[in-house]
Point group: C2
Chain length 224, copies 2
């Protein structure tokens, strides 16, 4: 494999769409590894997601030269490299701010743990929740944010507070060292350039789905 | 406004990215309406999301000609038109399949209710959950899916079952009339062309965030 020291021949970060697809290829590689396979192809990596093999090759080429024509990719090697590139070859401590229903669901979301994301601290403003323990983590008041982030050396946060508190809490988190926010509040956040935000607005995704579906409903029979 | 009968001058559906941004403009319009304003501009519609006014104009032009140079957009009118275009000018009954932690959080997610999405039926395979009532809805066995979908005339489903059950349950839902699936299971679904799927894989979004953040962590001090 032709890799620079950090496994990343490009100096600028890959576009979001490329990173998203590489996450999918990694999932497929892990699935193939569990099935006991040792080699795979661009076709096999993209096929479950409807991604063409030329696109798979182009996406992977962004990070280095893997695999060989006629031979394909070594599954174990490529998993290690992609995990390193994506930053999931290590544990990522997370903080969770806002322990409503969604916060509680995220706390138990197995998808995070299996990708080595661990919620190490929980913050809320509700006196009834502060001091309670959920999934082995004790809820702390928002005032303790700075101390908690320093103690756990976390830079990623799940923001699950109500919409009208989101910007204020985000400002607070950024002031004490948070660099990445997965925002579940249905409002856009204004953040400085060194901070990354990914918004998860479930109602927008449902709206997109409704838009796609509404055109195809004429003549549908539910009596089936 | 220059609109065809159904408010949709294009015959083919708008690209996903356009629909997603139009959902954001609608949110901003509703926010301006709540502030008592009656007129707005492309700049004001895109500004909270960092979208340039030329892009706003181009996105809206996909659906018709709204607003006038020098005058701008009538907020109330544009809200009504965009709601109709997006299909959120009516109630959308949803079914929820799989009542784990995430399912329970979605059941209480206010963002759905405020966009007129209502969970009208819940299905699970766990005998301990079947017959129980959550948020006023009684959990039914998966066998009752066909009858439940016919009774509620639903075409949208939230799929919150474990990964290894997702494809089987999706097949079942599609066979009885579901046309749109918001998939929370961390696996891709194979579906026929008349069915739409939007995947919500929270761990992929967190991976994308970790990727963005890992490059910017050198020299960060958590001691603040």
């Amino acid at each position: 494999m032709d890799l620079s020291r950090n496994g990343h021949p490009n100096t600028k970060p890959a576009p979001k769409a490329v990173v998203g697809r590489v996450s999918l290829y990694l999932r497929q590689l892990e699935s193939l590894q569990r099935q006991g396979l040792t080699k795979t192809s661009s076709h096999q990596l993209g096929e479950p997601f409807g991604i063409k093999n030329a696109q798979v090759r182009k996406d992977l080429a962004f990070f280095g030269q893997f695999g060989r024509p006629g031979i394909g990719y070594h599954i174990n090697d490529l998993i290690l490299v992609l995990r390193r590139i994506l930053g999931v070859d290590k544990d990522w401590p997370l903080i969770l701010v806002g322990l409503g229903n969604l916060g509680r669901a995220l706390l138990r979301y197995r998808g995070f743990q299996s990708r080595r994301f661990h919620i190490v601290a929980i913050f809320d403003t509700d006196p009834k929740k502060i001091g309670q323990t959920y999934q082995g983590v004790t809820v702390e008041p928002l005032d303790a944010l700075r101390k908690g982030i320093a103690a756990h050396k976390t830079s990623l946060a799940l923001l699950c507070v109500p919409a009208d508190a989101a910007q204020r809490v985000a400002d607070l988190m950024i002031a004490v060292g948070i660099r990445g926010i997965l925002n579940f509040a249905p409002v856009p956040l204004a953040v400085p350039p060194q901070v990354s935000v990914i918004a998860v607005d479930l109602s927008i995704q449902l709206e997109n789905l409704a838009y796609k579906v509404q055109g195809s409903l004429d003549g549908v029979s539910w009596a089936g």
